[in-house]
Symmetry: C2
């Protein structure tokens, strides 16, 4: 179930249809959830949806994919991701640390593992 | 300053003198701070001090040391550590993710990167 949740997390960052993206945001994030990374942040369903939409505008043609396996205990999980053009080497990657409550994300902090030189 | 705080964080896990350890705990952790990793957890100065003391009893003769560099933004930081006998290869290692407020740890989540096979 956690695997599916993380897959949905990646999927929402790739979902460019506004209505579908918002529906997925509300499904997998707590209403008062918070996200922060070195470049952006968002809070609540509206804030997180808008943040993801803005990120998609910054990286057109790029898609997120999971890298490696999940590492989870209790309500905590860490997982890594790559960002790049489909079928090509990633241009950036990061690791996210999340608190999951009742099957939804309550809090996520993203760190960057590598970025375009 | 963050470098010094992380160095003190490692130092407190290695401080086996009870009074010195408690003094350092109160210096670098918020009064209501929380720590959790896959093996243990603690809250508040007393809870975190007792948790570290118990961990030291589980790993006699082992010391913690920092591995790699800090990665920080805003009030978030991640850093990695090794655990092992002084001067020998580490037997375990992990990465901690912290929220730092007013120069003290408010919340730390520890993940294990490798453990004894």
């Amino acid at each position: 179930m956690l695997e599916a949740l993380i897959d949905s997390y990646i999927a929402v960052w790739n979902e460019t249809d506004g209505a579908a993206r918002y529906a997925l945001v509300t499904k997998i994030w707590e209403p008062d959830a918070r996200y922060i990374d070195p470049m952006t942040s968002g809070q609540g369903h509206d804030g997180i949806d808008a943040m993801i939409g803005a990120a998609q505008g910054q990286f057109p043609g790029m898609t997120f994919s999971r890298r490696g396996t999940l590492d989870a205990f209790g309500d905590r999980v860490r997982f890594s991701w790559d960002l790049g053009p489909a079928g090509a080497a990633p241009v950036a990657g990061g690791t996210d640390f999340a608190v999951v409550t009742d099957g939804r994300f309550a809090n996520v902090t993203g760190f960057l593992d590598f970025t375009p030189g």
